[in-house]
């Protein structure tokens, strides 16, 4: 290890002390990472709640930092950062199927100038696009010139667009000042471990200061640099989200420790994602048969960390060139060829007017939910059920069962309706899976749900769902999700109480691993 790496390591030796200082800062900011146990009701939840206004302003239209915002606002990534400085066992950069959707993959690389034009083109076409992120396909901070040139161009031409980056953290401490200079106020760090023994099973090597490190030593440098970078960012008031890949048998239990470590350093939000390890991706984990978690395993881990910190549960693990609402991909509309042919006029006024309408929609939704929730007041029951919802966005039940590419999942209890995840149900990329019965696949994906809310559903799938014990509900078509879900749950409780039906627990569900067919 070279001298500076040793220095990094020793400066992280007094974690506890630094952690305490960060705790004070975090508490001072009143953010979701308040000390001790319990958490403020901010972050990924609906509405401002008790979030300080300055933080609410930062997250309220960022689809990744606010669960509530992700129903209304879109984001885009530009693939200007192809190089990477670490190797992860869940990543294979070589594989790019056009129908593939996962991090680390893109169809074409962009120069900063092309990226800036793409951002303006998308911003003019999709007025609810509020966030530009750089997330690779390598690591943005392994390509600092390209990354910061892109931020500079956008900062100068479209200052209303929020800038965001996602990094493995290895080079983060060196770039914190530049990140602050360009007003990048959201940074995501992927932290899969704080124990180098575990890290050695996830990262075969890192490239740091002109040298390739492997094993324990590599993971030790990485974790030290990640945590140091996190501390430096939160000191400057930059919101940090931590992404962690849940790898059963390797870091699943350990992520509780990671959660505590990042919370104590002032992280705002923790996003625990399921491992994607389909063999056809050719990753180390894909090839050695490492499995991903089931839906209930993932939820249980997220639930166990939630007492400590805000959890993100609406991540769609998107590509480094994704465009649109989370869960949709419009990147095919904005290829370099198409963009360069576009006449782009950046119209900040139209965008503002559109976004004001979106805000009205949001307020109406929250009011509707509150009204319905008031009716539930006084009811007390330990029953919790999950419900799947087919939606195209805007917080409405507005998608046909047969057209849904994913279902959003809400946990219903007497406390209300809480978003707890989403399940992809689109067909697999043609690779031998095309013949699979899609209805069976959908049932497997939402098998832990008691009901599925849809705008419309045919008679045939309706019967099969009922047979599988999932109630298809179409009476709330085009109404607000949460309000409708609470109303349905109230009726469900009434039926249970009157003895008309018996409450039974549901089983587990599968997380889809395949490729997203964007054209479907």
């Amino acid at each position: 290890m070279d001298v500076s790496a040793q220095h990094d390591a020793s400066s992280n030796g007094n974690f506890a002390e630094v952690g305490e200082i960060m705790q004070v800062i975090a508490e001072h900011k009143g953010c979701g990472t308040s000390g001790g146990s319990g958490k403020a009701s901010c972050g990924s939840q609906a509405g401002q709640g008790d979030l300080p206004t300055e933080i609410w302003e930062k997250v309220k239209n960022h689809p990744c930092y606010s669960e509530e915002a992700h129903h209304h606002y879109a984001r885009m990534h530009v693939a200007v950062a192809p190089a990477c400085n670490i190797q992860c066992n869940y990543c294979n950069r070589k594989y790019d199927c056009a129908n593939e959707s996962r991090p680390g993959v893109v169809s074409e690389k962009l120069t900063p100038e092309q990226a800036a034009k793409k951002v303006l083109a998308v911003a003019s076409t999709i007025p609810q696009m509020t966030v530009l992120g750089i997330a690779g396909p390598g690591d943005p901070l392994a390509n600092p010139e390209k990354t910061f040139k892109t931020f500079e161009l956008i900062y100068n031409t479209a200052p209303d667009i929020k800038l965001c980056l996602s990094t493995n953290g290895l080079m983060l401490p060196d770039h914190v000042d530049t990140i602050a200079k360009y007003n990048v106020d959201h940074v995501t760090i992927t932290i899969n471990m704080v124990d180098p023994e575990i890290g050695a099973k996830i990262y075969p090597w890192i490239f740091y200061k002109h040298k390739r490190y492997t094993g324990y030593e590599a993971a030790k440098i990485l974790t030290d640099r990640q945590l140091q970078g996190l501390e430096m960012l939160t000191e400057r008031g930059i919101l940090c989200k931590i992404n962690s890949v849940m790898i059963p048998g390797i870091n699943d239990q350990h992520l509780v420790e990671v959660n505590k470590a990042v919370k104590s350093r002032g992280a705002f939000l923790h996003n625990i994602m399921p491992l994607i390890s389909a063999p056809e991706h050719g990753t180390v984990f894909g090839l050695n048969g490492q499995r991903g978690p089931s839906a209930q395993e993932l939820k249980a881990l997220q639930d166990s960390c939630e007492g400590e910190m805000n959890m993100m549960r609406h991540c769609r693990q998107c590509r480094a060139d994704a465009v649109g609402l989370l869960g949709e991909d419009r990147s095919a509309e904005f290829t370099t060829e198409k963009i360069m042919a576009m006449e782009v006029k950046y119209d900040a006024e139209t965008r503002k007017a559109y976004q004001e309408k979106v805000e009205e929609e949001r307020v109406a939704k929250v009011v509707a939910k509150q009204e319905e929730l008031a009716e539930l007041a006084g009811a007390s029951s330990d029953i919790k059920v999950l419900a799947a919802v087919a939606t195209k966005g805007s917080g409405l039940i507005n998608e046909h069962f047969g057209h849904a590419k994913e279902f959003q999942v809400y946990e219903l209890s007497t406390a209300g309706a809480k978003f707890v995840g989403h399940r992809r149900v689109d067909l697999y990329c043609q690779g031998g899976y095309g013949e699979e019965d899609s209805l069976e696949t959908i049932i497997r994906a939402i098998n832990d749900c008691h009901a599925v809310f849809v705008a419309k559903i045919g008679g045939c799938p309706k019967g099969d769902l009922i047979k599988a014990g999932i109630e298809p509900v179409d009476q709330y078509a085009h109404e607000f999700i949460e309000k409708s879900a609470i109303a349905w749950f109230k009726a469900y409780l009434d039926k249970v109480n009157s003895g008309e039906i018996e409450h039974v627990e549901r089983g587990d569900a599968a997380i889809r691993q395949g490729a997203l067919i964007s054209a479907a």
């Binding site: 390598g138 390509n143 002109h210 390739r212």
Partner: protein
């Protein structure tokens, strides 16, 4: 004059380009190539060849055995 990049394995990620102390690497036809006249195997610069150390695909930056090894000037 020694390292070359096996084009069929290159992911074109560009990680090697800025690491080369001799500025011997550039993009050509969608992948990256090493100028054998400029490559010094990183001798005198670093303990290990930088392109090899940073490349995400093993055995992609390799010694070009068709050429004589680099000789440091006397």
């Amino acid at each position: 004059m020694p390292f070359k990049i096996i084009a069929s394995q290159c992911t074109s990620c560009s990680a090697c380009e800025p690491e080369c102390p001799n500025v011997a690497i550039r993009e050509k036809g969608g992948t990256f190539v090493i100028d054998p006249k400029k490559c010094t195997e990183c001798l005198g610069h670093f303990d290990e060849p930088q392109c090899v150390a940073v490349c995400p695909v093993d055995n992609t930056c390799v010694i070009d055995t068709s050429l004589p090894r680099y000789q440091a000037p006397a």
